[in-house]
Structures are given as C-alpha cells and as structure tokens.
C-alpha cells in the first residue's frame, strides 16, 4: 500500500494490552480523503467481492446499484453524527525495520461521515424493454442491407456491454430479462422481433 499506511497502527489499537495506554494522533496525511469510502457488507457477500465479481452499475442520473453475479443491491449512504476515526493498518515493510525500536503511534487518516449500506432490490429491467424496442429486428431490413449494400444504421442497437452499461441489473438477471423478452443476439446485437412487441403489451 502507498503512503496511507506508513503510520497506521490499527493493530496497536485493536490489540491494546490490559493495563496499558497509547497515544492517538492525526496521521501525517490526515485529510478529507473523499476518494475513500466505507461499504457495509454481509459476511456471505464478502467472497464475491474479494474475488472481483462485483461492479457498480448505472448512469450518472440514477442511484448507484451494486451488482453481484446474480443479485442487485441499491447503495445508500447513511450519515452519522458520530465521529468515526479511521486508523489504517501499519505498513508491513516499515514495521519490520523499526520493529520494537519505536512504539507505533496509531494515526487517524480520515474522519468518516457515514457508511454505504446495501439493500437488495429487484433488477431494473423496464429500461431493457424500452431500449430493445428502439430498433426491433425486421428481416426485410436485412435483405435491403444486403442487396443495396447500405451501411447498417447502428442507432438503437445494443451489444451485451452496452446493455450492462445502461441497465441496473446483475449479469444473470439481465440474461433472464433477455430470455423473458425472447430477445436474440444477431450479429452481436441483442434484438427483439416485431411480433414479440405485441407480447409485451
């Protein structure tokens, strides 16, 4: 880790021995550190996160949603009037050099204003319907393109990655949504046919 942990001391705080005391100071790099945030997570979701299977999805005008491979969670910031002093861990390389020479002074890097909580939500798939209806598949269009060699108009066409960028749902839920709409991947784009649209009403 970089500079933040060069004088952390979390262990010194958590392992404080009986009948002893320790000074706590502001970290040499104490500051707002707006790039640091706390996320409350269920123990059972921990492996998924630690194995890189999680992402935040949504557009900037939507509330952020956290997606595990098969579940979607709304992310809510919960503020606190308490002062939460964050003490980083000590840099392991530094502590091996100084060892018992210098006592570690636990340092507060940041005072957190709150934490982010997760609330399980249903995937937001209404948008998927609207997006795929923008440019429904018509076999006649394909024949025109082939015969007249017209450049295919790609507006309203979405590949898997485009859908992931726009739809707040986990991968599995998104796939289930596509199946429910009888959508098919044609030339890398997800399409619904004109007749399928009637089923949606």
């Amino acid at each position: 880790m970089e500079h933040e942990s060069c004088r952390g001391g979390a262990k010194a705080v958590l392992n404080l021995q009986s009948n002893s005391s320790i000074s706590i100071a502001y970290h040499p790099h104490f500051g707002p550190h707006d790039d640091l945030m706390l996320l409350e997570i269920d123990e059972k979701l921990l492996p998924g996160i630690l194995h890189n299977r999680v992402s935040l999805r949504g557009q900037s005008d939507e509330e952020a949603v956290l997606c595990m491979p098969s579940k979607t969670y709304a992310v809510k910031f919960v503020g606190t009037s308490n002062s939460m002093f964050l003490v980083p861990p000590s840099d392991p390389s530094e502590s091996s050099e100084t060892a018992s020479d210098e006592p570690v002074v636990p340092s507060v890097l940041k005072v957190a204003l709150g934490i982010m909580e997760l609330v399980e939500v249903a995937p937001k798939l209404d948008k998927l319907k609207l997006l795929l209806m923008e440019n429904p598949y018509r076999p006649e269009d394909e024949m025109d393109v082939e015969e007249l060699e017209i450049e295919k108009d790609k507006t309203g066409l979405f590949q898997w990655e485009d859908l992931v960028d726009r739809i707040q749902a986990s991968d599995e839920e998104l796939r289930a949504g596509l199946r429910a709409l009888s959508a098919v991947e044609i030339d890398g784009y997800w399409r619904i046919g004109m007749r399928s649209i009637w089923i949606l009403f």
Binding site: M1, E4, S5, A10, K11, V13, L14, L16, Q17, S18, N19, S20, S21, I22, S23, I24, A25, Y26, H27, P28, H29, F30, D35, L36, M37, L38, L39, E40, I41, D42, E43, L46, P47, I49, L50, N52, V54, S55, L56, R57, G58, Q59, S60, L66, S81, N82, S83, M84, F85, L86, V87, P88, P89, P106, S107, V108, A112, I115, V164, D165
Partner: protein
C-alpha cells in the same frame, strides 16, 4: 457505466483497519486547525483485562468498549483505471473509474457515554504550561 470493484488481497489477508468512534466532534484550537497532521488527539487506555477503554481528549475522559461490527465494513478507494488501449487523444475524463478494496473493518472501539470532565485533575502528558490543550472534545 460500470465501475468494477477490485480487490488485490486474498480473503484472509485483507488489511484490517480500526475505527475509534465517539459522539460529537473533536476540535482543534484555531492556531492548530491548518496543521492537524501529526497532532496528538488523545490517549486511549485499557485499564483492565476487560474490553473496556477510556479515551482522554483534552479535558474529557470518555468510556467505551471494543465491539465487533454487526456487518464488516470494506474500505474502498476510488481510482481512475489506466487503460493501455486508450489512444493518446481520447478524453481523459472518459477513463474508467474503479473502486478498489484496500481494507476491511470488523471491530470498533465505541465511546457512547457522556464524557467525564477532568478539569481539576493534573495532566501528566502536558509538558509545557498550556491553559487549553490543542485538541478538545466538542459535543454540540
């Protein structure tokens, strides 16, 4: 857009951070406010073998205990991901943002009782003759 949450650490080796939590705010004297770095906040004591602690800030002594969190907290850091495939003239603002897990918190030392005033008690940690300590407790 999609922001990946990455973790470079393995499950059992995620660095553990600590939280010391108290009610109200800690304030520094005006002359210290711009240079808080390295300033002492207070003294954390564990008087016995129990998980009970006191935290002395300025003239106040708080009592609390070390408690496990109901649910662990992950410390996430926002980062701009460097994409080697991006061309030189692509918009720098369009580089992907990532969230990296840089730590985990499972316990905190929580102080939730009313502070005890120590006005008449001599302060052995103050070496110079100061009327007010640089950092004091403020409960609004």
């Amino acid at each position: 857009m999609q922001i990946q949450v990455k973790c470079g650490c393995r499950e059992d080796s995620c660095p553990e951070w600590a939280i010391v939590e108290l009610q109200g705010a800690v304030e520094a004297q005006p002359s210290f406010r711009d240079r808080l770095q390295n300033l002492e906040i207070g003294c954390l004591c564990r008087p016995s073998s129990e998980e009970k602690y006191t935290f002395t800030v300025g003239y106040h002594e708080l009592s609390g205990s070390k408690v496990p969190l109901k649910k662990p907290l992950l410390v996430l850091k926002k980062k701009r991901a460097f994409d080697p495939e991006e061309s030189i003239d692509s918009d720098p603002n369009s580089s992907r943002m990532e969230l990296e897990v840089i730590g985990i918190i499972r316990q905190r030392i929580l102080f939730k009782t009313r502070p005890k005033a120590l006005i008449s008690k001599p302060q052995p940690t103050i070496k110079e003759k100061k009327v007010t300590p640089p950092v004091t407790l403020f409960q609004g």
